[in-house]
Symmetry: C2
Subunit: 183 residues, 2 copies
DNA sequence: GTCTATATTTGGATAGAC
DNA sequence: GTCTATCCAAATATAGAC
């Protein structure tokens, strides 16, 4: 079915009537497919995560800097391509909406995949994953909030990736050093 | 007047009735002070920016790492102390709301002050300011979205500050080098 | 300047014909 | 399964008494 159509548009302040009209239907027809408006949100949430995972490029763990650049570019492009989807999936500021456990599990999986990738790339000190998500989310968030459609922040991705990998290595080094010291 | 009271609570999905009740009034009484709900948003936006500026700590430009740590701690604490205020001021996802030119000017001023501070601290290569705001916003955004009230991201602030200053210096160095090369 | 009462609009959801 | 018609609740905003 073509529910993906409405995804590209928006829903933060959209009514069921608006959503329905965009896909050439009347509002009540939506209830043949979904129990409530939140069920629509949830389906879009799950759909968004699946698409994020499916289209994610393979990134080399043998060259962490290049790999992180690739991954960050993809993430930020995904977020800025559809700010409303970004809001639904990552900002979670839709009033009253929380994804169902099943949908949420999808996003947890995706995060674990990122964690595994970072480990494989040798970037696995505590806090490294969270630092990564903060940097990537920050670039996307600033771009969407202050200059949607522009590149004032997206053009910093490569520099940010280098910065992150450098810091991740420092963190790992510190961990090793303090570990030795403790022994 | 005590309109600041409602600021601490929330408004993303709040009605005028809710706002009014929190300050011990009835909804229509608000119209003695504001022309519309958006006018309330705008007043809260301006008020939030003013408070952000007023309470900002002095940070030493003589020790950029320490200064950035101080500033980032303050920014993230300000954002996480009141996620709804954060949404209103920095995420800008309140449906239909845009600050008035006068209110917006306040936030531009604040950003220019940050830029001036960074320059004074010697961190003034192109993109440095935007990298700073991305990192700070990313930490706040992730904390609020994924673990409101926790410290999973806030505890990374000092590390992030060190990382940022290091990168800012790299960027400045590169600029100087490429400048020489061009000459 | 604050209240009660109410107008007006809008949005989510249901009923029932086709 | 999609439509029209409609119900019901909630929200912004206004009118007018006090």
């Amino acid at each position: 079915m073509a529910w993906e159509l409405c995804r590209a548009e928006g829903l933060a302040g959209l009514s069921l009537r608006d959503i329905a009209r965009r896909i050439g239907m009347q509002a009540p027809s939506l209830y043949s497919y979904f129990d409530s408006k939140h069920a629509i949100y949830d389906a879009m949430f799950a759909d968004g995560v699946r698409e994020f995972v499916a289209q994610q490029p393979d990134a080399p763990t043998t060259d962490p800097v290049e790999g992180v650049k690739l991954r960050m570019r993809y993430y930020v492009a995904f977020c800025t391509a559809d700010p409303v989807r970004y809001q639904l999936l990552f900002q979670r500021t839709i009033p009253g909406f929380e994804p169902s456990p099943e949908s949420y599990a999808l996003s947890v999986e995706s995060l674990q995949a990122l964690e595994a990738w970072l480990r494989e790339a040798g970037l696995d000190a505590p806090g490294t994953l969270d630092l990564y998500t903060a940097i990537a989310a920050g670039l996307a968030s600033q771009q969407n909030a202050n200059e949607p459609g522009g590149d004032r922040w997206t053009r910093l991705i490569d520099e940010a990736a280098e910065m992150f990998v450098h810091q991740a290595r420092v963190m790992k080094q510190r961990k090793a050093t303090s570990g030795r010291r403790k022994k």
